[in-house]
Symmetry: C2
Subunit: 371 residues, 2 copies
């Protein structure tokens, strides 16, 4: 696994149970996945990645940032890479993603790839005077995303693109009026075998996932069925191997529009560690190792995951363990062993049970015990 | 953790989630817990153990074999050791265990500590002509246990004890007529906080645990209540910290007699990884780190664990993964990453569900897919 963040960290437990050896190429010696970090190095350095790949049977990822030329060279050298570069590109570049989704006939917000402020302003004016602008690459957790009414509000991004010598495009999208956000997790093997989890509702705060309700409360069964259908169309259409998260808006007029893709285990699937017979982390390992996929039934009627965001005044998550664990014996705590920074995800809490509102209240209270 | 077997291996996942760093002193470089094995050395060598203990906050165990003098010296040096040596001695020496249980008023089979064949024969003759003889130390999984009718059937053991220069006693016990075996798992912190899991039924084959039914089917509610009571009396009486397994016989006349103690996570508690809100491995970590204990409710009405025993013709467990996983998508496989030997536990399978017989059939079929 390339990348030593919390996703790599949470891949270690199922690797142990399955009897697979997971080896991590981490950015720093002190990473969330340091227990499995056999190599420390820069994933942008081709020789570092090639040397690491020589020690393993299959390469997969904790993030989408490994450059395409390195990925394609790995495949040229006969290395198994999952998801494959031609799938991963749609998670790496939001403009390629929008083009591919359009080709697949999947509903998305109105969008355009813009090269100039004039072109951007034209789009904004045609969509009610406000729009969402995104950098095509490198954004996550609300970074690289701005809601603007004037094109010059992203002049710095145009400047950076010009300086980088890219043929610089930004992605602009209509500001969708949505009632809530949904996510469909799909796992797929190269053979085409697919398994999906129930569609979940994700609650964002400040562009960052705050909590996930699994399964998504049924407000309109047809909408959830449509979200599930879209998730599967995208998984097959992009040819993902491993876990894919399709993040969607449910609009005020009951449409479902795809917002983002992630080709790896995803925050919206952390509930599955306790909440599903097979977690997204175990399933990702099975899929990239080309093993049959596991059952994805829920283990309880209601499962809620709440992220723990680190603030400046707090120590690492375990500092407050004694009181938090004592007060919340049913809550499952997951520490990422990260130094806290304001807004940084340093862990999460999951509670399972029979009644959504009870479970949600417990999960929120338990997460609050750390902040 | 001293010892690098499957118990240490299965302690790694909850350590990762809790954000605790687990460090293992393993016997060999290629152990079941090698992912966490920071030191390789002999746990019988005092300096090896003292050096290892200096690198950690608290010492605990994968097995009961670390000699008492080393454990007591660790405490004398100010090292936190859990369970403490004065508790662990009852799991190390079956004669001390029987004496302590008698003192606690806990029902046990008739027993005696015997030094000579004559004394042993006298016990056998007084108990219907057959009895169970056990070495006081070092036995497990049926090793160090013989059912005999003539005292000379254990002459080799008396000889070994004499050669070792011990004041040599063997333990002899009446052959109990039992209908089934039960186990009560208890976790206890040094503060006295205790949590128990439901009493389970364990099915042994050839002295080795074959399967565990959780919770134990109710044949007589009073018997299960008595088993639970005994488990708690023993946990408090011996002052365990961490997980204790109390293995018991349910007799044909509906009594409950204590058979064995284990002061560590135990095969009869492996079901709890999926079957309980808090697994025995997570609970052991919490208890020895003096953190509040977690909820031990079952996650499903019926949970069955079946051991996978390695035969000579088989490769390591993952060799047969593809077909086994494909046929049993609901089964959770746990590989210990061990080379197979006849009768050696190389992994286990757990299935959760609503109906015991269905779950049991699924778990047996899934385990059989490896043998």
């Amino acid at each position: 696994m390339i990348g030593g963040g919390q996703l790599a960290r949470m891949m270690v437990p199922p690797a142990i149970h399955l009897g697979l050896r997971i080896s991590v190429l981490a950015e720093t010696p002190r990473s969330s996945a340091d227990r499995a970090a056999d190599v420390v190095g820069d994933y942008r350095d081709p020789e570092t990645v090639y040397a690491f790949a020589n020690t393993v049977d299959v390469v997969t990822f904790d993030h989408e940032h490994v450059p395409q030329p390195i990925l394609r060279e790995l495949e040229a050298r006969g290395v198994q890479v999952h998801p494959r570069p031609e799938a991963l590109q749609y998670a790496q570049d939001k403009i390629l993603m929008r083009q591919k989704l359009a080709e697949l006939g999947v509903p998305v917000p109105d969008w355009a790839a813009v090269e100039t402020e004039a072109h951007l302003q034209e789009f904004i004016d045609a969509h009610g005077g406000r729009a969402v602008v995104k950098t095509a690459r490198g954004g996550y957790d609300g970074k690289g995303v701005r809601v603007v009414s004037q094109a010059d509000e992203v002049r710095d991004w145009f400047t950076t693109l010009a300086e980088d010598g890219h043929v610089g495009h930004l992605l602009v999208e209509e500001l969708v009026e949505f009632t809530r956000e949904l996510s469909q997790l799909v796992a797929r093997r190269s053979s085409g075998e697919m398994r999906t989890w129930p569609v979940v509702e994700t609650v964002q705060e400040g562009g960052v996932c705050a909590e996930v309700l699994a399964p998504a409360p049924v407000e309109n069964p047809a909408t959830l069925a449509e979200a599930a259908r879209i998730g599967q169309v995208v998984a097959e259409g992009v040819g993902v191997t491993g876990v894919l998260a399709v993040e969607m808006f449910e609009t005020v007029d009951h449409r479902v529009l795809v917002n983002e893709l992630a080709m790896r285990p995803h925050n919206s699937g952390h509930f599955s560690i306790e909440g599903s017979v097979t977690s997204q982390f175990e399933q990702h390992l099975r899929a990239v190792a080309d093993l049959p996929l596991g059952d994805t039934s829920m283990t309880a009627p209601a499962v809620v995951m709440v992220n723990v965001l680190g603030g400046p005044a707090e120590g690492p998550m375990p500092v407050r363990y004694a009181e938090a664990l004592a007060a919340h014996p049913r809550a499952k705590f997951h520490s990422y062993d990260k130094q806290p920074r304001p807004g940084r995800k340093v862990g999460h809490v999951t509670v399972t049970g029979d009644d959504l509102e009870t479970v949600r209240a417990q999960a929120r209270a338990a997460a609050a015990a750390f902040s």
